[in-house]
């Protein structure tokens, strides 16, 4: 398979020449997935922290549901969002179909359960360790929540990375709700699917290599920040 060598050559060529089309889809991919991640963290961390320390009837069933939703198939999320945002759908008047906003909505739905379920586990474990302390000084609920979220922040960063990875790598949802429109809603994964369908396997793989490189860069950046923060926190 000479395609492999060709793919690497193409990948370096595209990055080296700062191909404007490539930059456009990379920037859109990052904007869409990061925005979805931020919204998902706001919802998912709150929900995860609440589920971790609250006790109420039906909590067990809710935990199973949230955990199961981690396995939401992107294409089903895409279909659901399409049906909601389509002109014939209930939210059609908002004219959001085939826009980056529609893609953000789909990815947010896709990764919020991941953030919620994983953060619930992390915070619940920490809460177990702190339980005696909280009981002895009778800390109010809100302060307990923030204390837990704050002390778990480094583990929660990894949770956020898992969510980001899922968002930036999925193709099924953004293909349906974004439409893979050139210069409007084309992102890395839909571009890869397009080049594959054109039979240009080398170019498709080259884009895949670049996407992997971006994921590596994001993870390395977060890891660097974390190391700095840990040093700072315990200095």
């Amino acid at each position: 398979m000479q395609d492999f060598a060709e793919a690497f050559r193409l990948a370096f060529g595209l990055v080296g020449s700062a191909d404007p089309d490539l930059i456009e889809i990379v920037v859109l991919s990052l904007r869409v997935s990061f925005t979805a991640l931020l919204i998902s963290c706001a919802i998912g961390l709150t929900l995860g922290a609440f589920l971790a320390i609250a006790r109420f009837p039906g909590r067990g069933a809710l935990l199973v549901l949230v955990n199961a939703l981690m396995g939401l198939p992107p294409v089903v999320v895409g279909l659901f969002v399409y049906m909601m945002l389509s002109r014939a759908g209930p939210l059609g008047v908002m004219q959001l179909l085939y826009t980056p906003t529609a893609m953000i909505i789909a990815q947010t739905i896709l990764i919020t359960p991941i953030i919620a379920a994983l953060s619930r586990q992390v915070i619940e474990d920490l809460n177990g360790e702190y339980a005696d302390f909280f009981r002895s000084v009778s800390v109010p609920m809100a302060d307990r929540l923030w204390a837990l979220l704050w002390d778990a922040r480094f583990s929660l960063l990894t949770v956020a990375l898992a969510g980001f990875g899922r968002a930036v790598a999925e193709v099924g949802a953004v293909m349906i709700v974004g439409g893979n429109i050139d210069h409007l809603t084309r992102v890395m994964t839909t571009a890869i699917a397009l080049e594959t369908s054109k039979g240009d396997l080398a170019l498709a793989l080259a884009l895949g290599i670049i996407l992997l490189g971006i994921a590596l860069a994001v993870n390395a950046a977060v890891m660097g920040l974390k190391t700095q923060a840990v040093r700072h926190a315990y200095a």
Partner: protein
């Protein structure tokens, strides 16, 4: 303990940042753009990359192409998720207009379908120009055939060709007859991977880069004619349809200038689409 106060602030800042980012993205395409629901065969061939800049330069209207199978394109247009429909399945297009979803259907251009297959040619059909005989030979020799199986224009055409050949391949589905349920490119990739025959449009085939040792085995039969039609989505059904801009696109593509632009588009020195507007409206 002071650090704990910072976390809510950081979260609030992140949320605010996220919302700002979300809002700074264009909430919708600007007004001088239309959505064209079209097929993978036209988009993958590169035709739109050649045509649309000419149209945009002249009119200032941006055309956003959603390239899916004809079946899905028609369904999307019925839902009002597009302004113009450009596909290739005449009976389905006529039904779309008859049901009131489209204003009027115009012929735009044609290309032709071909059957491609591996160089080994297990059914021995290379060079045949009669499609019915070729399909019968494939069925009799039980040579592997990949079908789109996705209700696209190409799939509808393929089913019609099997019917005309007097063969019902659905009985062999999963054995020698394999329905990929995917787009043209994915189906060709599968065919190349399985040394299977496949029906494809000539445009996609010429532009396709993963041909392996595959060749065109059957071409030239009139039954393989592939007509494209263009339809404005009916603004009476969907009031938001950008009728003026959509009609401008249709007028342009049917005009002498648009038709010439179609004829000019060549890949590897071969003309892919043959304009034939005005020959027949319906």
């Amino acid at each position: 303990m002071k650090m704990k106060r910072i976390f809510p602030l950081a979260l609030a800042a992140a949320l605010a940042g996220g919302l700002t980012l979300a809002l700074s993205l264009p909430a919708q395409a600007d007004d001088t753009s239309i959505i064209l629901q079209s097929t993978t065969s036209t988009a993958n061939s590169g035709l739109y990359d050649h045509l649309l800049p000419k149209f945009s330069e002249k009119t200032g209207i941006t055309v956003n192409v959603v390239a899916v199978g004809t079946g899905q394109a028609i369904k999307n247009a019925q839902n009002g998720d597009g302004d113009v429909l450009l596909v290739h399945a005449k009976p389905a297009e006529e039904r779309f207009v008859a049901d009131g979803f489209g204003v009027k259907r115009f012929d735009v251009m044609y290309n032709d379908f071909i059957i491609v297959g591996p160089a080994s040619d297990p059914a021995g059909i290379a060079g045949k120009s009669d499609v019915a005989t070729a399909l019968k030979a494939i069925a009799e020799s039980q040579a592997v055939f990949t079908s789109r199986g996705d209700d696209s224009g190409t799939h509808k055409k393929e089913k019609a060709l099997w019917t005309a050949a007097g063969v019902d391949p659905s009985e062999a589905s999963g054995t020698w007859y394999r329905e990929t349920g995917s787009g043209m490119g994915a189906t060709l990739n599968a065919a190349v991977g399985m040394d299977a025959y496949a029906l494809t449009d000539r445009g996609t085939w010429i532009a396709f880069k993963n041909k392996g040792d595959f060749k065109i085995v059957v071409e030239g039969d009139e039954a393989l004619f592939n007509q494209y039609g263009v339809i404005l989505v009916n603004p009476e059904k969907h009031a938001h349809v950008k009728a003026e801009e959509g009609q401008a696109f249709i007028d342009w593509i049917l005009s002498a200038e648009g038709q010439q632009a179609i004829a000019e588009y060549k890949l590897d020195g071969q003309q892919l689409f043959f304009p034939n507007a005005g020959k027949e409206g319906s």
